[in-house]
Amino acid sequence: MPSIAKPVATHPSLQRNDLGLTIRDYEGAMSTLCAGCGHDSITAALVRALWEQSVQPHMIAKLSGIGCSSKTPTYFVNGAHGFNSAHGRMPPIATGANAANRELVYIGISGDGDSLSIGLGHMCHAIRRNVRMVYVIENNGVYGLTKGQFSASADIGTKSKKGERNRMAPIDSVMLGLSLGATFIARSFSGDKQQLVPILKAAIAHRGFALIDVISPCVTFNDHEGSTKSYLYTRQHELRAIEADFVPPASEILAHIGQNGAVSVTMHDGSAILFKGVPPDYDPTDREKVYAYLEEHHGKGEVVTGLLYVDESVPDLHEMNGTPDTPLTRIPYQKLCPGSAALDKLQKAFR
């Protein structure tokens, strides 16, 4: 049960972040997912990223739809506001929430069923609106809660636990995001926390929609031989193409730039993403090149991971709509109501 509490006692030597909080302050309730579920590793990465970024817990809004993935907001940052909504509908709810209060840090947690089937349209339109949020797809290629049906991300030829082969082409959220103009696209692997934490930190700093597809094996229904979303398959086929480090706003950025093969992208808040070990023909700010690279390696059966694409220049939802920096929820009513004199004047036109 998610209501099972973890012991609150913390060791005095635990490290504290800028807010004086320990990593335990970013934990949530005990997970009720299956032992070994990839989602729990993603939760752990989120806990670390949010702690390292010193985000005020109560300034976090964690939202989800329905499914195994969508249970996970309960398992991180107890002090955050949570919203476990309806299947596939998290993007519009997050969009409305963001419209009303732009000051919160929005973490959307979704799955491949939630985002690539029932809520596909919503996700696409949240990308188009460039709603500022971290959007994690915990991608396991299978419906877990209903016991093992293929999801829309299942690869052609992948085998279900019962031995059935999938014959339909998958929807790849990364390629989809690229074609829709997503401004931050990453793919990672739940078994690779080292890669995932900096991606999440960069996503939090990104001013716009940060799409992070994390291959997250389902140990119960999709971790067998013949599955293309198993731990073994992913480890064998993962191509850690792009190494990215997140550099908080400070002079140390300069220290990193200039190293061999490094590319850096400065974020809106002055922080930077430092790309290391980028292949020679790769540019994480060039959509066409990224597309070509991914197509090429996908053709070879490789799962390319890393922070694949960033564009900090696109306006987000609020910039597109010219809203004030102050959240709309804090505009006093007197400013919103035109008053009776304006009404009298207006009605001269209704004659």
Binding site: M1, P2, S3, Q56, P57, H58, A61, P73, T74, N78, G79, A80, H81, G82, F83, N84, S85, A86, R89, P91, P92, I93, A94, T95, G96, A97, N98, A99, A100, N101, E103, L104, G121, H122, C124, H125, R129, L317, N321, G322, T323, P324, D325, P327, L328, T329, I331, Y333, K335, L336, C337, P338, G339, S340, A342, L343, L346, Q347, F350, R351
Partner: protein
Amino acid sequence: MRSRINDFAIKLANVNGTGSASANGLMMQAIFRMGIPVSGKNLFPSNIQGLPTWYEIRVNKDGYTARSLEYDLTVAMNSQTYARDIRELREGGYVLHDSSWPLDPALVRDDVTFIGVPYAQLCNDNFREPRERTLMKNIAYTGTLCALLNVDMEVVGGLLKEKYAAKKALHESNDRALRLGYDYARDHFPCPLPFHLETMNANSDKILIDGNTAIALGCVYAGATVAAWYPITPSTSAMDAFKGFCEKYRKDPETGKNNYLILQAEDELAAIGMVIGAAWNGARAFTSTAGPGISLMNELLGLAYYAEIPAVVIDVQRVGPSTGMPTRTQQGDILECAYASHGDTKHILLFPSNPAECFEIAPKAFDLAERFQTPVFILTDLDIGMNDWVVPRLQWDESYQPDRGRVLTSEDLEKLPKFTRYSPEDENQVAARTLPGVHAKGSFFTRGSGHNKFGGYTEMPEEYREVMDRLVRKHKASAKFVPPPIIHRRAGANFGVITVGGCDMAVREALDCLAGRGVIADFMRIRGFPFDDNVQSFMDTHYFCFVVEQNRDAQLRTLLTLETRVPKEKLRSILVYGGFPLSAKHVEDAILRALGEVEKPVHAVPVPEIHIEE
């Protein structure tokens, strides 16, 4: 024929997409400016160009301006519908038609007068461009109507001048076309006709406005900052109007920033999701839609109900089921809205009857949604939403302050040992809520899944029921806060007539007419759901009641029988649901017909006289 002043109805039959709508609206507006009670009903097709469209104007010095079925004059400008239009004309009426071509002798009726004006020929002789020749025919027949009906030409001239203030050439052609039609009539026919207009002073404190504009204005005044929607007839103009008003009133004078955000969603599922997200964060948020949109919103309406999140939903009803007839009016969403979503749900409904009430009811809807932390529906319809109505000038109470309901501030939370979301509840069964980001102690987990009174996840029967039982008590408690019914009692009334929304005017007119014939009835117009005690006692104090509504399945009657103690047999339906606005004649005829049949209902309890209020 005796002359009849300011009491007649005309029907204008046109082809849509030819510019007739603006000419017909001009005519209606001119009559309004002459100070005469008037209504205009645009009966238009779901199409951009080429299908039949009608516009009906009724003037009535006594203020009865519901749709009339007795047309004194038909302007027959659409050969596709000649036969129907001429057939519908009352005996002794007039047909104005384009005599550029001969009229089919089969259409001629002996009991009506045909007035032929060669509009096509006149316009071909006077205008060069083909599009202009088509458009100007409308203004030309408007000119003829001015002569026939004694419309003040100065008023019409003034309107054209205002309309084309920035387009001199257009103004010139319109003015010329108006004159062509006017002069031709004056030269060839005795003007005015026996029924015609004379200036009155009934409209000095009135305005001309449609319900969608009025409701949008109400949302601005209510302080709504987030609106999400998906375009759908007949509600689209509500959001268009909201956008227009926001551009006018919500641009911050100091920063130039927009103190509003309108989201055109990918579908109605998303639109209501956005409203819920924004309201969860504390914004006043709404969506406007029609029946098909409500169908799609059902899923998340249940979430808002169960998780107790405010939402305002404007449903401009059109004809269903399915796509139905998108440009026709109906009251077919009453039950859909009352119980929207799966599982046990009940919602608050508000029913304005005209545009002025649309304006007044909008802030009320937001107050109720926030007070009771639940979705609130405003049910209007196409007739209210899209037609221009003459209504009292809108008033704004400067002392109005939004009722934000039980929302804990940072200071409240500071003092609180521990916050739990769904308890303790107040006398209206409402528990306090917090808004994200306000205070660390206010954090909680909102969920559409089973939860207990503390907001925690549960699958335990007693914990689940505890919350569900409070929710139904909360819905019941809101009855005292929704607008009470409007009740008109008459001495010697034998029965009651219950109605709702846009039926108001036609039903009241019908009851006045019936009273004139000695058939006396009391009147009750429902304005909100859940029903308050007044609704119950009205039904208790009558042997039987008619329920007049615009749908096939007697949805209001069903709701009354489900949600009050009234015996089913006491309520007898009058249903008009073909898609055109209700007329008093529909009601009057139906009641007279039914009274021949109504026997004393078996289960009706004789009511002691003391219960009857006068």
